[in-house]
Symmetry: C2
Subunit: 337 residues, 2 copies
């Protein structure tokens, strides 16, 4: 067991990509707990595009991470000592652990108990059975509502949320087109995950490929990316299409906000329903989502994808993988067993 | 009574503004009707921003007006002769009359009977009791849904739809901020229509004025304009704000689609519900809307605004008034009594 507590502290707000001087790795003794607290050892840290948005000076749906503060992140760990009635030793808990090896929890800084599902790897509670799966499930069920035979387009389709969203849309009987970077990811979507078509946005002819793959137009856009890809999708929206506005990763590293889509007027012409949503607003539904998602996994209808990075000290490098498209499925960092 | 039928025919698609060679005025004999037809004399023609969008080459929610075809427009007239059981002489009818002095109606090209309300001027059936009022009523009731005390911003607030939408929002108990061009219009909104504040977008400091007028943020955007005004509104949307996407007049004269709003990402951050809608999808509810609207007019809570242009031949000039902000309230052209 580690005999110190390593933590990444925000030192400099990145202008674009996260660099070597964005964070400082500090090492302190393992915290002592008092009455009303419990000590959690971090096992897994979730790496999500939204982490980057929390580093900007402007508040998002959460305040910016402050200079000198531990980097905020979702994670999962095990209670190793408790002086709080709500936590018992050995229990798995998840929530905003941050980039630290040890977490002190209390009523003012709680983590949530993990409802364990037999036969599932621990990291899945951060992925398909956690916020990621809940995000895909909420977006599809509450906003996208694909009907049988409708065409659903998912951007960042080989990513954590996209890969689940596309598979749920297939389960709902829709025709699903994924957009992803590179032939390998596109092959995976069609061959392994059962997508009807995939468009490689790194290809010079991705616009033509998108048109060909959505000959009957687009009924649901599960939007994770923004930028030129979203602009091209908006141009092909059908009457009363739904846009599930889940993420805009293409702009998260930009110092200035990127231009909006030139095809914005199509939202009016086609009477589109667009809705932004953030999973943290809907945590109460995680059980309902996990029941569906775990059921589909057992039936073999839903395959979770995961990329694991080993070693706490890799966090600042690992997070850039999200913006390079270097991960397939959920990106998690393994801290300890 | 006119002894000929003047009509405006589309000759050249305008690149930007409508010019002298966009339409040709042709003069033909008054049409003869056959069995199953009725003859309508046009009294009023409605001038709406959406007319301009119908002149573009790309289809909108209706196909483009074809070269050589009569310009499409909403209008109202009186049945002067009928060989159709559904139409009786003297009856007022409305619908897509087009830019012509006489209209032949039939089962394949119908107009709808006007439900007359005592004490109301005929042109009101094209405005506050017609599509215009229905548009404002639908957008506020179905999408905007302002709660008491919420802040509603209406762009093009001194226009046909905006002036009604703002007044309905006031009736619903919201705080209403109108955006309009010029001090006179802004004064009218506050002094005559009871808006809480007005922002003059022709002032050099309109951005600061918008911030000051919406200090608590914006809960509902009744969007008629697009462009920089919408971009500035999006920056101030509150959590779970609603955007009633009703029109984007600022872009209708552009040859190329304008850039989308740089503040688009705020739709995600603030979990905004945005919905495009078009009144033609909801014509069945015109009676329900007219009952509300006529009731509010009788109670003195809703003041209709109207700008009347006299003379059929003025149509191509009158339509540009919409894009110059030269009208206050509903712009109608008076053809005949």
């Amino acid at each position: 067991m580690a005999d110190s507590n390593r933590r990444f502290i925000l030192r400099n707000r990145p202008k674009g990509r996260i660099t070597g001087d964005t964070f400082e790795l500090v090492e302190d003794p393992i915290p002592q707990i008092e009455d009303g607290q419990a000590l959690v050892r971090t096992q897994w840290i979730s790496l999500d595009p939204t982490n980057r948005a929390w580093l900007a000076e402007t508040p998002t749906y959460l305040p910016p991470v402050g200079i000198g503060e531990v980097m905020r992140a979702g994670g999962l760990g095990q209670v190793v000592a408790s002086k709080h009635d709500g936590y018992r030793e050995g229990q798995l808990v998840q929530g905003l652990t941050g980039w630290q090896e040890w977490v002190v929890v209390s009523d003012t800084a709680p983590l949530l108990p993990v409802t364990e599902v037999p036969g599932v790897s621990t990291s899945a509670y951060l992925g398909v059975l956690g916020f990621t799966g809940l995000t895909a499930w909420l977006g599809l069920n509450d906003i996208g509502r694909p009907q049988e035979g409708e065409t659903v387009v998912v951007s960042a389709a080989a990513g954590a949320v996209g890969s689940v969203a596309g598979q749920i849309a297939k389960i709902r009987g829709a025709r699903v087109v994924g957009i992803a970077g590179g032939e390998q990811k596109c092959g995976l979507l069609v061959d392994d995950l059962g997508f009807d078509a995939a468009v490689d946005h790194r290809s010079a002819r991705w616009r033509e490929d998108l048109v060909a793959a959505t000959a009957g137009g687009i009924d649901v856009d599960f939007e994770n990316v923004g930028g030129p890809i979203m602009e091209a999708i908006f141009a092909r929206l059908n009457l009363r299409a739904r846009v599930v506005l889940c993420g805009l990763i293409s702009g998260y590293n930009d110092a200035e906000p990127p231009p909006g889509p030139r095809t914005f007027a199509n939202l009016l012409r086609q009477r589109v329903h667009l809705e932004g949503f953030i999973v943290l607003d809907h945590l109460a539904r995680i059980g309902e989502a996990a029941t569906d998602l775990a059921g589909w996994m057992r039936e073999g209808k839903l395959k979770p994808l995961e990329t694991v990075v080993e070693g706490f000290e890799q966090l600042p490098i690992a997070i850039n993988m999200l913006f390079d498209g270097a991960n397939t499925g959920k990106l998690v960092l393994h801290v300890s067993d």
